[in-house]
């Protein structure tokens, strides 16, 4: 068979090094029940975006008096999160984590402190500027990272679908249907008709804009300021338009 021949010619795997942004869950308390309740409320703000999100558990200040980790893992998984590693864990907790299939990350307290303060600075800056209502809270962290490559969608975005370009721009080369949602931390470009919702600057970037060649949106939002179709300026319906944030106001401008 040709399949076996090609198997012999090519190695069965390739090992690649890759940098990935990971979300860290820093524990401040070992009351798992309360933690689960608070996390659940937090996740409810953007359930689709955070579903299955890989997570590093940082034992932080509770490392010394931490109870077993198995129960915590169950609770996190129940919420739809995917814990993949622990760090700053006591030896016995780390052993337990290894047995449960988690990786144990090397401690990195110095750089951790640094980036934490960087994140805090960005966070407070973002907060001063705006309070995004739609944006996932953990998106704040992405602001400290360099912008990632834009996301390009060539197939129609259908009713009920949600596309999120985390940390970058989103380019849609097809129609966004009524009931669909396109979201980006940067700009949103739509070269088909926009009949659904478009959200730019989801992590709080007020400089983000929405560009579309045929505007018919149900809702548009930039950095948490939104307009529904009833309130939108009707004169721009079915035209090419760009939408930007001017202070507190969404402003529309014809694209020619």
């Amino acid at each position: 068979m040709s399949a076996t021949a090609s198997l012999a010619a090519e190695p069965t795997f390739v090992i690649k090094g890759r940098m990935q942004t990971l979300t860290v869950l820093r524990l401040n308390s070992s009351d798992w029940q309360q933690l689960q309740a608070e996390l659940e409320a937090h996740l409810a703000q953007a359930p689709q975006l955070l579903k299955g999100m890989p997570l590093v558990i940082d034992c932080g200040d509770v490392a010394e008096k931490m109870p077993g980790i198995a129960d915590l893992l169950n609770r996190l998984r129940e919420l739809g999160l995917s814990p993949i590693a622990v760090q700053n864990a006591r030896t016995d907790v780390a052993d337990q984590a290894t047995k449960l299939g988690l990786a144990v990350l090397r401690e990195n307290k110095e750089s951790e402190k640094e980036s934490e303060s960087a994140v805090k600075a960005v966070e407070s800056a973002a907060k001063a500027e705006s309070q995004p209502s739609q944006a996932p809270e953990q998106g704040d962290i992405e602001l400290a990272e360099p912008k990632t490559t834009p996301m390009t969608i060539t197939r129609p975005v259908r009713s009920g679908q949600q596309i999120y370009a985390r940390g970058g721009d989103l380019v849609v080369l097809a129609t966004v249907s009524a009931g669909a949602e396109v979201i980006a931390d940067g700009h949103v470009h739509i070269y088909g008709a926009l009949n659904g919702r478009a959200i730019a600057g989801a992590a709080g970037d007020g400089d983000a804009r929405i560009f579309c060649s045929n505007f018919n949106a149900e809702l548009v939002a930039i950095a948490g300021r939104y307009k529904t179709s009833d309130a939108s300026n009707d004169q721009y319906r079915d035209t090419a338009v760009q939408i930007a944030l001017d202070g507190e106001q969404l402003v529309y401008k014809a694209l020619n």
């Binding site: 197939r155 259908r158 679908q161 009524a178």
Partner: protein, 270 residues
């Protein structure tokens, strides 16, 4: 290798089962060995429309659960050569379906058949999901009204993301639109969406337009796929649709309002 085609819509009552029966019968009439599977467990209808409800001994669920073989459950159509039906169970519910079992049955059928037509239940829950999961192609049946179009749009999104082909990153499912219960006169009066409106919203290939027709109701009441009623417009539209599917270039009929004929103008009839 057999082609697995799902007939789906999201919304109920738009003509999925009518289309499944007509399309499957049409393929068989052209000499292709075809099996129709009813995925609407608990609300089986396909056997009624095909007129074989009294011949159901074993059903799809029996086969999935290993209580009968595929050969025992297949019902051979009495009118058309090469046409078989696998009925749904009326006494179970959708939970009796499971992904692995459906996959196994389809794999077995694929050895013997050219076309496997999966008649999906309405909705986007388990039954509908499993009907489309293994599909190679999809026919989305839509009526020319906004709620039906919106539901079809949603189903198209699921076809593009939650099916085997999507999960395995293979070539996407080929999607085609069937616009049924179309009434050109009502479109002209602005009471219905036009073919162009629907195509603009859904942006997929149009396979056929089936006119609203009394013949469809008559056919299903008498347990005959409407495609066998050659004198009816709906029957002719389905024949065109099958030809078009098989690669023959057939113009779309029944999309423009009828011009009053000489006699009806003379006598004022309709």
């Amino acid at each position: 290798m057999a082609k697995i085609i799902v007939i789906t819509s999201g919304k109920g009552g738009v003509g999925k089962t009518t289309t499944s029966a007509a399309f499957g019968t049409g393929l068989a009439l052209k000499g292709h060995k075809t099996v129709l599977i009813d995925f609407d467990v608990g609300l089986r209808n396909l056997d009624l429309i095909m007129g074989c409800e009294r011949r159901v001994v074993y059903d799809f669920i029996n086969v999935i659960q290993g209580e009968a073989t595929v050969q025992q459950a297949l019902i051979k159509d009495k009118r058309v050569e090469n046409l078989f039906i696998l009925a749904a169970s009326q006494t179970r519910d959708k939970d009796a379906l499971n992904q692995e079992g459906v996959g196994r049955v389809l794999e077995q059928l694929a050895k013997d058949f050219e076309y496997i037509i999966c008649d999906s239940p309405a909705g986007i829950e388990k039954g509908a999901h499993l009907a489309m999961y293994y599909a190679d192609e999809a026919m989305v049946v839509t009526n020319p009204e906004v709620s039906s179009v919106r539901d079809s749009d949603r189903v198209l999104g699921i076809l593009a993301s939650k099916t085997k082909r999507a999960e395995e990153n293979k070539e996407p499912i080929k999607e085609r639109l069937i616009l049924s219960r179309y009434s050109p006169d009502r479109v002209a009066r602005g009471e219905m969406l036009s073919v162009e409106d629907v195509q603009e919203i859904l942006s997929i290939d149009l396979l056929g337009v089936i006119p609203e027709s009394q013949a469809v109701l008559n056919a299903s009441n008498s347990g005959e796929p409407v495609i066998l009623h050659e004198d009816s417009e709906a029957g002719q539209a389905y024949r065109d649709l099958v030809d078009r599917y098989l690669g023959v270039d057939v113009p779309h009929r029944f999309v423009d309002p009828k011009k009053p004929g000489f006699f009806s103008r003379l006598f004022g009839g309709n």
